[in-house]
Symmetry: C2
């Protein structure tokens, strides 16, 4: 705010002279359109360790001077700027570009600076004149003066070299003087010493947060802990959950995400199918957090102890898997905070505590904290300390429940504070809400976001949405985590389309986005819904359940295969490289992911129709594959194992929703028709 007010003060009140002085001293070089930049630098750009960070800017000045342009960057704890030269990649549009490697999981800062290269400008002018046959004696004298000036300011080793240049100049004749001053070694010498009085810097320092690799690529398995056992009508334990780890590991998942593990309130506990009154044996929703046994740092005794939890986390890590916890700030009326810190809650005129509502809906089993109560400071710290508590138990990933119903300033502060100590912590925003809020939660720091993918089923809407996510500035800050189902959402497409629909949605989630997840039961194609709603019938949220994890009709072999393909193909672990291509069928989607060096090329053809077979023409994007019109290429379907030797653009494909709803084509250029050579 201050700077805008200052600007007005300058404009309105200041005298002509002081305004002039301010302007004279401002930058003669324009540095504009620095990219990436989110909302004028208000928010940090996101990247991942190992990424190359590309910076682009428009830089220009009046006249014909030659400019030197650089990226300045430093990590949060670096004292000095690192300098990376930028190149003029499109001189007609004054565009400069540069890049550097991101090696640390931390906050970075970057900006752009530029200065007039006086010596190079002199050299270019003299060269043009010589090329046009013009005499340059006077220019040589001007060059000598520049060398003399450089000598005055040079360090000791350069001083000697520059003095030697001047001595040679003094002794030389016209042609020798020309050759001397235009020589590359003199250029190198002058490049170190030349006058940088024109140095200008972009008027903002931009911020970048570099996550660890797992933040941008992972397969999640959402586990409803209490239904992982084999005994009907009673809770499974962490030990039961642990017994499932080999199977989930074999399916190829990286993250086991648990719904809340805390004690569940008894007051207004919900019964089966979200009914108002629970029977004594009903477990209640794990999102009604807090009871006599404790709150957000306690473990529901039905599941085990904190030690059992730590053992589960440890065992998962032995399989190379991480455990993610749910961070749901709502409380049950029995949460210890209600007695210990009643000032954090809202009470009504009749003295009762205000429960959650979204009129006309009422959530009697949940009471919400008031983030702006007069004692908010202690509340915010308490909430942050919950994260630190679980980090200490080995949890580094948090799926945050409904962040859009809590204040943005809280999240922005808390995520930054956590990252100051633990930059490796990952936060997933579960905000199925309107686009500005969903995007802003990503901007203020959430590492990943639930997205509208859950309801994007048809070709036009998948292309439109994925293009927004991968080809616009949204990709600078938002990493969608594609979930085809959640405990709250059983989309109509899965209800209606049955097993083929589950295969289709799984392939889309896992090959469109490097980070995706399923909620348990998806692998079994479970799709029994509450009538006319997108909700599970007999939801695990309100009851115990026993699953047969080998139930006939499951799609576990497909899941295993696709997760293996993801692991073996670097192109599928990127997101911005997604491109859609032409297929002559409105029910079939065709897209590619190709690494920038063409070393890994994956093309996916998937039907969006769970009912009928489709036979249609695809147009292979030879340009995007770095292939000429008549170059051959080998094609292998990584799902069926079928191999082809193809040439040209148009190819016929067949998709059967029951047996082969998709082709995942691995393409290798093949200059010679020789079936013996390649070892694939």
């Amino acid at each position: 705010m201050a700077s805008a007010e200052e600007k007005i003060a300058k404009i309105r009140g200041a005298s002509v002279v002081s305004s002039l002085i301010a302007t004279v001293s401002s930058n003669p070089i324009m540095i504009t359109d620095v990219h990436p930049e989110i909302d004028s630098g208000r928010f940090a750009v996101k990247r991942t360790v190992g990424d190359t960070f590309f910076v682009r800017s428009k830089v220009f000045k009046d006249g014909h001077d030659i400019l030197k342009v650089s990226i300045l960057w430093k990590r949060q704890d670096d004292a000095d700027w690192h300098v990376v030269p930028m190149k003029a990649t499109n001189p007609g549009l004054d565009i400069y570009e540069g890049h550097f490697l991101l090696e640390s999981n931390t906050y970075y800062f970057y900006t752009v600076e530029a200065w007039v290269d006086v010596w190079e400008s002199w050299r270019a002018e003299v060269r043009k004149k010589l090329a046009a046959g013009q005499e340059v004696s006077l220019e040589l004298l001007e060059g000598r003066i520049l060398v003399e000036e450089a000598l005055d300011q040079a360090n000791n080793s350069d001083k000697a070299s520059l003095a030697e240049v001047l001595e040679q100049f003094r002794r030389g004749l016209y042609v020798e003087q020309c050759n001397l001053l235009l020589a590359d070694d003199v250029q190198t010498l002058m490049g170190r010493g030349t006058n940088r009085s024109s140095l200008c810097r972009y008027d903002r320092i931009l911020e970048l947060f570099v996550d660890r690799a797992g933040a941008s690529c992972a397969a999640w398995y959402e586990m409803f802990h209490r239904s992982q056992g084999i005994k009907a009508g009673q809770s499974a334990t962490f030990a039961d959950c642990e017994r499932r780890l080999p199977e989930i590991h074999a399916l190829g998942f990286d993250v086991i995400y648990l719904v809340p593990v805390h004690p569940i309130g008894r007051t207004h506990r919900k019964g089966p199918n979200n009914t108002l009154f629970a029977r004594p044996q009903d477990p209640g929703s794990p999102y009604a957090i807090g009871a006599i046994e404790g709150g957000h740092t306690a473990i529901n005794p039905d599941l085990g102890t904190l030690d059992d939890f730590r053992h589960f986390v440890h065992t998962a890590s032995m399989y190379g898997m991480e455990v993610a916890l749910d961070f749901a700030i709502q409380c049950s009326p029995d949460h210890p905070w209600v007695k210990e810190s009643p000032q954090w809650f809202q009470f009504r005129p009749d003295g009762t505590i205000k429960y959650a509502e979204n009129p006309p809906k009422k959530y009697q089993d949940i009471v919400n904290v008031d983030f702006y109560n007069p004692d908010a400071l202690s509340l915010w710290f308490e909430l942050m300390n919950i994260i630190f508590f679980w980090v200490a138990q080995g949890v580094k990933i948090f799926r945050v429940d409904n962040p859009h119903t809590k204040p943005l300033p809280f999240w922005e502060w808390m995520i930054r504070e956590v990252r100051r100590k633990h930059p490796e912590v990952v936060f997933l925003s579960e905000a199925f809400t309107r686009p500005p809020m969903m995007q802003t939660l990503a901007k203020i720091g959430f590492s990943q976001s639930y997205s509208y993918f859950t309801w994007r089923n048809f070709k036009w809407e998948l292309i439109e949405y994925l293009t927004e996510l991968t080809q616009t500035d949204v990709t600078e800050y938002m990493r969608p985590n594609f979930f085809p189902n959640t405990p709250d959402i059983l989309p109509e497409f899965l209800q209606k389309g049955g097993r083929p629909a589950f295969m289709i949605r799984f392939i889309l989630a896992a090959t469109l986005s490097p980070v995706y997840g399923i909620y348990n039961g998806f692998e079994l194609c479970e799709n029994e819904a509450v009538a006319d709603k997108e909700e599970y019938l007999h939801s695990e949220k309100y009851t115990y359940k026993v699953w047969d994890w080998e139930r006939p009709g499951n799609i576990k072999s497909l899941i295993t295969a696709v997760n293996r393909v993801r692991r073996e193909n670097a192109a599928l672990r990127e997101f911005k490289n997604l491109r859609f291509h032409t297929v002559h069928d409105e029910n079939v989607l065709f897209y590619s992911k190709i690494t920038v060096d063409y070393s890994n090329m994956i093309l996916v053809v998937v039907t969006l129709d769970p009912f009928d077979r489709h036979e249609c023409m695809i147009e292979m994007p030879l340009d995007s594959m770095g292939l000429g019109a008549h170059e051959n290429y080998l094609v292998k379907d990584l799902l069926s194992g079928a191999k082809h030797l193809w040439n040209g653009v148009q190819h016929m494909v067949r998709l059967d929703p029951d047996t082969s709803p998709a082709l995942i084509l691995h393409v290798v250029p093949w200059p010679h028709v020789d079936f013996e050579s390649p070892s694939w």
Copy 2:
């Protein structure tokens, strides 16, 4: 710079607690994507007196509160903000919009603020619950508390009304209490007084400059003063120029723009056709400014005296025309400044003054001032004072020669300083240079800009360029002045295409852009060029010339007709309303300009081929015309006078480059087929 550094300090150095406090106190309401905004508010948006200014923003907050959103605006000299409510025009995207009328030729400031409407939020919640048949006794008590709080802070007249509400509430039963608190008059009362503790403001104050109307709509006639007479081999005078005013007025022009009127240097004066040595009788280029007779505030004696100039300006004003002057900062070596202020110039090692060069080209008749010389302050003031001098002589429009070769900070400072005293002054930037510089000159304040229109001849490139100029953010700051020719540029299209090409380019310039201009001789279709160059042979820049202004083959009647059409049709005086439509011929362009209320609809069909006749199908944009598929409409060609009664989309048109290269169609909806009624 300060704020970015502060941000880093906050992030890196500050303690957790102070960071928390800063965050808690920051805005709970997000106000983002304020439009229009240029480069994060770094530059002012441009509009014209009489425009309605539309502001759009995304505004949202966690939870279900109802927000009130407003534009704040004030003129440079207003003490207080004016407040304009914004409406939620797209609640699904959290978009709010509002507008206000621009009535003053001055700088404006604007921003957006928002607050939670506590009463309206309460009222909406209660209404939803009542609609769902829920009991709201407790909510009524909460409503009463809100009224009591409002009473505490109300002014005297509201105090009585609120007390009366509370008294009625006390006496009423449940249903009466409901009706009372939900009533509209209570809403009005509470709307004035309700708690605004949540008030948030967008974090930038944005700037807007509102020009007088002439800045955005005018027809310019560039006059080479010394060729306006009838005597061969000698200079015309201002009196000769004055004699041409009735004719130029009759052609329909608004602005007479004169090339520099100052004394011309003799040292290294250029001869005919830009040759190096002038004969004694050669006048030299008027861009080599300054001689023994004076500099930038003097008049070339060949043209007359300052009094003669003022007389010319006065006479033009009697015809409703304004005079624009050229502001060319370069000097001849004979300019008085060279002796009076040699510190403003660069001298070479041999003691000679540095003349202008663009290697290998040399401009020996011109020396440039050095804007960064140690005495720059006095130079910048001297240059600004030249503008003030001519403003005092009645000149309010300046065409600035080559601004891209002078520092941007100079222009930004000078234009703002001039406008502080004379907001009516208009600056046209003649910068035929790369896009970032051309656009930045517009951003820093130039009212109008020369553009690439001069070289855009074909359908695809005209559509691409005009779409950029009218449908992107460029339109917020850049007003192109479309010149089909200049003294320096005789485009190849005019050289090759002859008279039809002149008609085509004129119609395009005058109907695509509300501000356009021609350089004299264009109306005569003069197109004799230097071989293989886009330059005039025997250019007036270096010689005297006598024109026959009634020369056969001239297109003056077309010019007169088109300028009349522009004057009579408001749609043509706008720019952002340009839309292109389908015509099934790659050599024909079809576009419309329609006022927002459909009261004036102009559709232009113009051939781009100066050689052949074209007969082709156009598709009338019924949607853009507010017409249903089966509504009739009257069409009149404003050039030929032909009338049609049309229905439906597809219509055949015939264009003949020699006789009718364009149709300028005026469309009026016509619900009844009744040829007698309309009076057109």
